[in-house]
């Protein structure tokens, strides 16, 4: 019994070391909030098109009727990281041949139209969420955010923050993994 007690401090140090090692893990972000909507159907919403943009509006039914994986990207013209991810997102959608939908979050119609005019419009449909209410339904914590949606409209994955660098790698990996389940 005595002898076991001698090893107790060592055991405690080893345990704490393990905890610290876990905390230092590469890529672990204690501030990241897991989405509450993973593996749940996309929330009910119906958004009109942005005035002055030819792309049609966006509703839950558009996702429910899909037969392939798709991406939903929450963006705004006032959001600088959105500008950074825009060309990469555009290329990803083209290369992967994956439908890309836009949720234009709390944006003025003319500003959004000018932004899309300048940077190009890769979106099949765009919903104009001026009040941000639909953003809340999606559990959006900040723009940009990108969701992967299953055929039938179930939310499979969320990447919070711009899909550049590590964010893009995570999104691509998630897409590749999901492609196996949804060929």
């Amino acid at each position: 019994m005595r002898r076991i007690l001698f090893f107790l401090p060592l055991a405690i140090v080893a345990f704490l070391g393990g905890v610290f090692l876990w905390g230092l893990q590469d890529g672990r972000d204690p501030g990241s909030i897991p989405s509450a909507l993973i593996n749940k159907p996309a929330p009910a919403f119906e958004l009109s098109a942005i005035d002055g943009v030819g792309t049609p509006g966006f509703a839950q039914s558009d996702l429910a009727s899909l037969e392939e994986l798709s991406l939903v990207n929450v963006f705004a013209s006032w959001c600088a990281p959105c500008r950074a991810e825009h060309p990469l997102l555009t290329r990803l959608a083209e290369e992967e041949g994956i439908p890309l939908f836009g949720l234009n979050y709390k944006d003025k119609a003319d500003a959004a139209a000018a932004w899309l005019e300048e940077l190009g419009n890769p979106y099949q449909r765009i919903g104009h969420d001026l009040s941000g209410r639909v953003g809340i339904e999606w559990g959006v914590t900040g723009v940009p955010e990108t969701f992967i949606i299953a055929p039938g409209g179930t939310i499979l994955y969320r990447e919070a923050g711009p899909v550049v660098g590590d964010g893009m790698k995570r999104l691509q990996k998630a897409l590749a993994d999901l492609r196996e389940d949804y060929p």
Binding site: G31, I33, P34, S35, A36, L37, P43, K106, S131, G132, R133, G135, I136, E137, W138, G139, V140, T141, G142
Partner: protein
């Protein structure tokens, strides 16, 4: 002048993020809304409740909470509504359930463990102290040694 400054200092009210246009006319509902929003974590500035956060989403959520209350939701329903969208992460007081047992029980378990360790050490010290007196054999030897000196 100094006195006036002091007076003004005491009159100063704490700064709230809640803007006048958000406040409900019904003071009972407003009171409930304030209590709820003090318990909800802002998803942008994560260590702040939405009640004192100036973030856009926090304001939207405050308005939404008031809207739900006006529509007749109970406090529990409002929390449910938020948790369904943002997860339990937004609750400053997480519910007591299997996945949070460690969170709730660990502090008390560690306290109990520490108290047990202290109790054990103390009681052991007491028995050690009690055994410190000389045994009969030792007493006899002491007597012998002392009497030797007399010779």
């Amino acid at each position: 002048m100094k006195r006036l400054l002091c007076l003004l200092l005491f009159c100063a009210t704490p700064l709230f993020a809640v803007e006048p246009d958000e406040i409900l006319d019904d003071s009972v509902l407003e009171e409930r809304a304030r209590a709820i929003s003090a318990q909800v974590r802002c998803v942008v500035c994560q260590n702040e409740p939405i009640d004192s956060s100036n973030a856009g989403v926090a304001r939207d959520l405050r308005l939404l909470i008031r809207e739900r209350l006006v529509a007749g939701d109970s406090d529990a329903q409002v929390y449910e509504f938020l948790v369904a969208r943002y997860g339990e992460f937004v609750l400053f007081k997480p519910p007591f359930k299997p996945s949070t047992y460690a969170l709730w029980i660990a502090p008390f378990a560690i306290l109990l463990f520490g108290a047990g360790a202290v109790f054990l050490t103390l009681s052991r010290q007491k028995t050690a102290a009690a055994a410190k007196g000389l045994s009969a054999e030792e007493e006899r030897r002491v007597k012998d040694l002392l009497s030797e000196g007399d010779k």
